[in-house]
Structure formats: C-alpha cells, structure tokens
Symmetry: C2
Subunit: 206 residues, 2 copies
C-alpha cells in the first residue's frame, strides 16, 4: 500500500476537528494515509474570507441549528468517539493555536494536541481562560512558564499568521479541512470520502 500525504487543517475550537482527530489514526492504519497536522486560526480564516462559524450562521434558523447539534451527537455515537459539547463555546483559541505552532516540530506536539482536544471536547473547560489553560497544561506535565513565554514570541505569532494565510490560499474556509494536492475535503465526514477516493484512485501495489 502506498502512502498518501494529507494536510489536516484544524483549530481546537472546532468540535468537528476533534472528532476527525479521534478517527484519523484508524483511517491512517486502514488506508495508508499520512496526516500532516496544520494548525491555523479558524477565526482568522473566517475574517479573511468573510465566512462565519456554522453556529452563528444558523442562529436564526432553529431547525438547522438543532439538526447541526443532533448530527454531531449521532455521528459520535455511530463512530464511538467520546464527546461533550463545550458549554463555553466559542472558546478563544488564539493562545492554544500559538501553542500548536510552538510545539509543531517537537515531540510535545501530539501530547499537546491530545491535551487540548480532550479538555475542549471530552472533559470540556474554558481553555480561553489563561489560568485554566495553565492548570490543564501543568497537570499534563508541560512546563507552563516555557509555554506562556513561548507563545508570546514574535516568530511564533508570525508563524500562526502565515499558517492561516496558507490555509486560505489552499482553499480552506472552515474546519476541519483535509487537503490532498488541489483537492479540498471539508468536514469530519469527508475523512471517509477521502479514504474511499484515494484508495480507489491509488495505483495497484507493485
């Protein structure tokens, strides 16, 4: 089975990004996908292109809003993903996403991802609150002094801005988004579509 490189654009603030993240290891095993995690600031994406979060977009259409919530409940039940909607939604994720950029090339990246996603969407807390974020990171074994110093570094701030610009340039308009070459797959459920398309199109093993 050949390996297929997939860019995964995410923000911890997106419940569907968590759900996708939870399902990606099994998809990688099944289909030979190699996921490259690409942090971005979803609020920045929305601002750049004039899009809005679904919860705001559907606020005036109660039937659509309740479908949106119910669809998530059914999806996580169907696929066995632990999930609890964050009562503090929408959480400001600027610091969290700067942290993702800070850790991106280190061996702390995946522990950091798991810690943030877990405390956003499994045992949800207001991670936009610096005190709560600090406590969560400390109890997961992170050096919080280094963290809070790191995320104020100009190069870290700049890297998140550039990552967000790149996401938009590649056609990202929401989260989660999978990008393979020129092909954009938007939404947690398209993880499975991506798998189906790529395994079908993949050249037969030699």
């Amino acid at each position: 089975m050949s390996t297929i490189d997939v860019d995964f654009y995410f923000d911890f603030g997106s419940p569907n990004a968590w759900i996708a993240h939870a399902l990606m290891p099994a998809a990688a095993q099944r289909s030979g996908l190699r996921f490259h995690y690409r942090p971005m600031l979803l609020g920045g994406v929305f601002q750049l292109i004039g899009n809005r979060p679904p919860m705001q977009q559907f606020a005036d259409i109660p039937s659509k809003l309740s479908w949106f919530r119910r669809e998530m409940e059914r999806f996580v039940k169907r696929h066995g993903v632990p999930f609890e909607f964050n009562p503090h939604f929408p959480v400001n994720t600027l610091k969290l996403m700067r942290g993702a950029v800070l850790f991106q090339d280190s061996d702390q990246f995946f522990p950091y991802l798991d810690t943030c996603f877990h405390n956003m969407w499994v045992q949800p807390k207001n991670l936009g609150d610096e005190e709560i974020l600090g406590a969560v990171l400390a109890s997961a074994g992170f050096d919080t002094d280094a963290f809070f110093e790191g995320i104020t570094r100009p190069d870290v701030k700049q890297a998140l801005i550039e990552a967000t610009d790149t996401a938009v340039a590649r056609g990202v308009f929401g989260a989660p988004t999978f990008v393979v070459g020129e092909e954009v797959y938007f939404g947690k459920e398209q993880l499975f579509d991506l798998e189906a398309d790529l395994s079908r199109d993949a050249p037969a093993p030699a």
Copy 2:
C-alpha cells in the same frame, strides 16, 4: 429484516435530491428502508424559515462555493450516479412540484419523478419553461393537456402549500431531507448515515 419508514422530502430543483433519489432503491434493498416521497416547494421552505440556497449563501465565498461543486462531482463519481449540473440553475420548480402533488397517489408518480429528475440533472433542460416542460412530458408519454390543467387546480395548489408547511413543521430546512420519527437527516450523504443508524438500532430479526 423489519421495514423502516422514511419520509423523503424533495424538490426537483435540488441536485442533491436527484443524487439521493438515484441511490435510494439500492439503500431500500440493502437495509429494508421504505421511502415515502414527500414533495415540497423548497423555495417556500426557504421563505418560511429565512434560509437560503447554498449556492446563494456561499456566493461571496469562492473557496466554499467551488468546494460545494467539486464535492458533488466527487460524490457522483464515487457512487456511479449520472449527473450534469443544470446550466439553467436555479430553475423555477413551482409547476414541477405541483405536478408531483398531482400524481402523488397515482401509478404515474414514479415515471413522473424519473422524467423530471432526468431532465433536470442528467440531460439538463430549463424545465421552468412551460414549453420545454410540455415537450419533455409529451415525449415521456404523459397527457400534457391533463397535466397543465391539473396543476392549476386549487386543491393541487393548496396541497403543495400544505406539504411545504408540514415539511417545515417536521424540521426540514433544505433538500434532500430524510425524516424518521423525530430524527432529521439532511443531505444526500446522510442517506448512508440513516442506514447505519437504523440497521444498528433495529431489533434483531425474530
């Protein structure tokens, strides 16, 4: 295998309603679903609840609009559904949907569905044009005089209004929508989710 009753809310103007319609016979065979076709006027639904068609909603967000189109292309390729986007989109479907109500309890209903969907989304034409609609129906063997007389009947007009109101009352905000009891499944791709959920929840055969 027990039978599960599913209401399918549709309007010929929705490309995704056509795609769902094309996949439903196989789903019915696989999963023991029994689909009840419920015509509605999608434009009426949008007006009642203040929703807008996706193509309009995304008009200012080119990346989302092009994803929307591309996603449809990939979906029909993945599932082998013949499809060509109608260049006259959005087509006014008022007469077409009145026709669906007119034929609903007759043996002409499914031939009429297939004729309309085919000439909207497989060999697309402007079926909003009465002359073109008449020619299409005549060549499919329908009595066009009876058709055009039938769709002006007050009871037919009223039935479509009531069907549209009922759709909204049941939580429909777009097309296609599947409704099973209180559960609303929106979008062609949720046909598969519906199947998965209902076969899982279904009591074991005696």
